[in-house]
């Protein structure tokens, strides 16, 4: 400090020489704790003269002579010592004048008595404690101190004064800049990189969360969709089967009902046709039919034939008779022309003729026709009218019987068929 000041102010202060230069006194108080790495530029705290206790401030003509609390005044000390001596002397004097207890009476003795609660043993023996002391065991001889021969030769000293070599602050600046700069640059880069990575990671995390959730939602919906679809398919399948079965059953039922109805008539019709076909027969009836009736018919036929034969014979007889009579009449008629009441008979005759004409068409050529013709000619005679009527009635009966015969023949023919 001094040298610095001297360096600075030497040109100005050249007149005085000091053994100790005037200097501002630093304050002894340390503001902060002594730290290990004391930075060089900590300002030196100088004491302020205004606040220095040693400097008397105020008026100087009435100086307060009170001693400082930290510093004792010598006069005061002396006075205190005298006072002490006097007090001691006084005490000694008073000791002699102090009243004592009176002397004991004849034959009595003062004895000291303890009046406390607990008695105390007073022994004359003084408590003795043994103390021992011993010197250390014999020590080894200490090693000889290093022999440093006395210095010979000439002492040379050198001192590097301020500012002779180099100015550290100036020199170190660029190096420091580079060092610190590079370190900070590198660390900044790395920190930025890490921060960037952390940010990316955070956004990625959030994104992944969202993405996972969305994906899960999508997959769930897909799954749901799939399940619903499958369910629908299955149900549709089931429905199809149900409908199919339904149809089939209804068809079957309808077919069955139809068949039943269709075949309902079958049985009666079968029976009917069988019955018609003659497969169900009453045996008696059958017997009658097979046995009895043909025989009956045969007999009837026979009877009829007899009848017919008889009739034919009769007819022949009649015919002969009639022919003979006709011949006779013709003989007779050749002479008288007979009066024919044809008008009265024309009608019936026409009818009869027509009838007979019809009958001619119907009946096969037989002798009876000729007989009828002959009868027709015979009808002219009114005398034979009743006879003719009889004959005609007989003829009618004959024709009826012939008809009957024919029908009977037809029937028998059919039956025989």
């Amino acid at each position: 400090v001094a040298s610095r000041l001297s360096g600075r102010t030497s040109p100005a202060m050249g007149t005085y020489t000091y053994t100790s230069r005037p200097r501002a006194l630093p304050c002894q108080r340390r503001r902060y704790r002594d730290s290990l790495t004391q930075p060089a530029e900590e300002p030196i705290h100088y004491g302020n003269i205004m606040y220095d206790r040693r400097v008397i401030r105020g008026n100087t003509y009435a100086v307060q002579t009170g001693p400082l609390p930290g510093q004792p005044d010598p006069i005061e000390i002396q006075r205190q010592q005298q006072a002490k001596r006097r007090a001691l002397a006084r005490k000694r004097a008073q000791e002699q004048l102090r009243p004592r207890t009176p002397e004991p009476v004849e034959g009595r003795k003062h004895v000291d008595v303890q009046t406390e609660i607990y008695l105390e043993e007073i022994a004359d023996r003084i408590i003795e404690v043994d103390m021992e002391c011993q010197t250390d065991a014999f020590l080894d001889r200490p090693p000889t101190p290093l022999f440093i021969p006395a210095k010979t030769g000439k002492d040379v000293a050198t001192q590097i004064l301020e500012g002779e070599l180099f100015d550290f602050d100036l020199e170190v600046k660029p190096m420091l800049e580079v060092l610190v700069g590079k370190t900070i640059e590198q660390s900044l880069l790395e920190v930025m990189e890490e921060e960037e990575l952390a940010n990316l990671r955070a956004t990625q995390y959030a994104y992944e969360e969202l993405r996972n959730v969305e994906l899960a939602e999508v997959q769930r919906l897909e799954e749901q969709e799939r399940r619903h679809r499958e369910e629908k398919e299955r149900r549709k399948q089931q429905q199809w089967e149900v409908v199919y079965k339904h149809n089939e059953t209804s068809q079957k039922v309808a077919a069955r009902v139809f068949a039943q109805r269709y075949l309902a008539d079958l049985l009666p019709s079968v029976f009917g046709s069988l019955r018609d076909g003659g497969y169900f027969f009453d045996p008696i009836e059958r017997d009658i039919e097979i046995g009895f009736l043909p025989w009956l018919m045969n007999e009837v036929d026979k009877t009829m034939e007899y009848n017919m034969v008889g009739r034919t014979v009769l007819d022949m007889l009649i015919r002969e008779v009639v022919e003979k009579r006709l011949a006779m009449y013709e003989h007779k008629e050749d002479q008288p022309p007979f009066v024919q009441s044809e008008d009265g008979f024309s009608g019936p005759r026409a009818m009869r003729e027509s009838l007979m004409g019809d009958e001619f068409h119907e009946q096969s050529a037989s002798q009876s026709q000729r007989v009828l013709q002959a009868r027709d000619s015979l009808q002219r005679t009114p005398s034979n009218r009743r006879y003719m009527e009889n004959v005609s009635s007989q003829e009618r009966k004959l024709t009826e019987e012939e008809d009957d015969e024919q029908t009977e023949r037809n029937i028998s023919g059919r039956e025989l068929l």
């Binding site: 500012g163 002779e164 070599l165 180099f166 100015d167 100036l170 020199e171 660029p174 190096m175 580079v178 060092l179 590198q186 880069l189 790395e190 990189e193 990575l197 990625q204 969360e209 969202l210 996972n212 959730v213 994906l215 899960a216 939602e217 997959q219 769930r220 799954e223 749901q224 399940r227």
Partner: protein
């Protein structure tokens, strides 16, 4: 001499371990040449310097441009451990930048890295896996890893490696499985993961659960998860003390219960109660995943019946802070109250 004059002598070598970096644009080419030098010390010093430089993305881009990757690939096969460790460290730092990742893919660095999978030095392997993890964050990077056929060896490594490396491996595999899960699934990744779920390390558990989430995304994965009975373990993990593990386990369950068999397996393992507890968790991811998992379970008739009495809890979730949680709570209520 208190002069402000620069000294004639060069400043002393402050860091003898690093090569001196040239000024400006000469830095990287010079380092590249030094990388290819014959002297071991030069190579090592150059690598240390490169490590520091690679934190700057512009330097990464310039380095790839001048072909540093080729020299680095050659150095990966070096005999010296230090060289290999440092080379993998440089590559891992480059992989944190997007430019670096794309350069990796273009220059087939992944295959070169694969040589070091069995390296004896654990630091080397750790850096290698860190580099692979960063590459896998990029979708095309993950695709590249899958294409290079590394997945079976990585899955195999899951068993053998130490714990920190296992954590890195799980992260890498999770990202790769998002791209192409078939290879990993056919390499028995699910049984390995099942073991990892029971590990004592919290980090490993959480990452294993996260990876199971990714595994359960494809249908094949879901089926395998159900077949290997992982679902009861996941339900057990729902009661884990770490929230991250709980959240990831809920996420895995959310995917695994998508199939009907998964749903019934989860119901048998009594998953509903722990999931309901998770709904009050502080981590929004946990709440979200738990809500979704409960939605899945509510699609079964038994689940629906049980959850109908817990609908008020979902209603409180509808006023949650996160938008995603609100949406999830609404869908959950809709599913629970659905009548066929």
């Amino acid at each position: 001499m208190s002069h402000a004059r620069v000294s004639m002598y060069l400043p002393p070598d402050i860091n003898p371990a690093q090569a001196s970096i040239a000024y400006g644009c000469r830095a990287l080419p010079k380092l590249n040449e030094e990388l290819q030098s014959e002297d071991l010390l030069t190579r090592q010093k150059a690598l240390m310097a490169l490590c520091d430089l690679m934190h700057d993305p512009e330097h990464v881009y310039a380095a790839i441009d001048i072909g540093c990757l080729e020299s680095l690939k050659a150095l990966l096969k070096d005999n010296n451990d230090m060289v290999r460790i440092k080379a993998t460290e440089v590559l891992s730092i480059m992989a944190t930048h997007n430019v670096g990742r794309e350069g990796f893919l273009k220059h087939d660095v992944i295959l070169a890295l694969a040589y070091l999978l069995n390296d004896p030095q654990s630091a080397c392997r750790e850096k290698l896996h860190l580099a692979l993890k960063h590459v896998a964050q990029l979708p095309s990077g993950a695709q590249g890893i899958v294409n290079s056929g590394l997945i079976p060896s990585l899955v195999w490594k899951l068993q053998r490696e130490e714990e920190e490396i296992q954590g890195l491996l799980l992260d890498t595999l999770a990202a790769c499985l998002l791209e192409d899960p078939t290879e990993a699934l056919s390499n028995r990744v699910v049984p390995f993961l099942k073991q990892k779920l029971l590990s004592t390390n919290d980090d490993i558990r959480s990452k294993a659960a996260c990876m199971l989430t990714v595994v359960s995304i494809p249908l094949e994965g879901k089926n395998q998860v159900w077949q290997h009975d992982v679902i009861p373990i996941l339900v057990h993990l729902l009661k884990d003390k770490m929230e991250e593990v709980q959240a990831n386990a809920a996420g895995a369950l959310m995917y695994a219960t998508m199939t009907t068999q998964g749903k019934y397996a989860a119901l048998d393992a009594e998953a509903i109660h722990p999931l309901l507890n998770l709904l009050c968790s502080s981590l929004s991811k946990a709440r979200l995943n738990a809500t979704k998992a409960l939605t899945m379970l509510a699609e079964t008739p038994e689940g629906r019946k049980f959850l109908r009495s817990h609908v008020p809890v979902f209603r409180t979730l509808e006023e949650d802070t996160s938008e995603a949680v609100r949406r999830a709570a609404r869908t959950a209520i809709k599913v629970i109250e659905w009548k066929p």
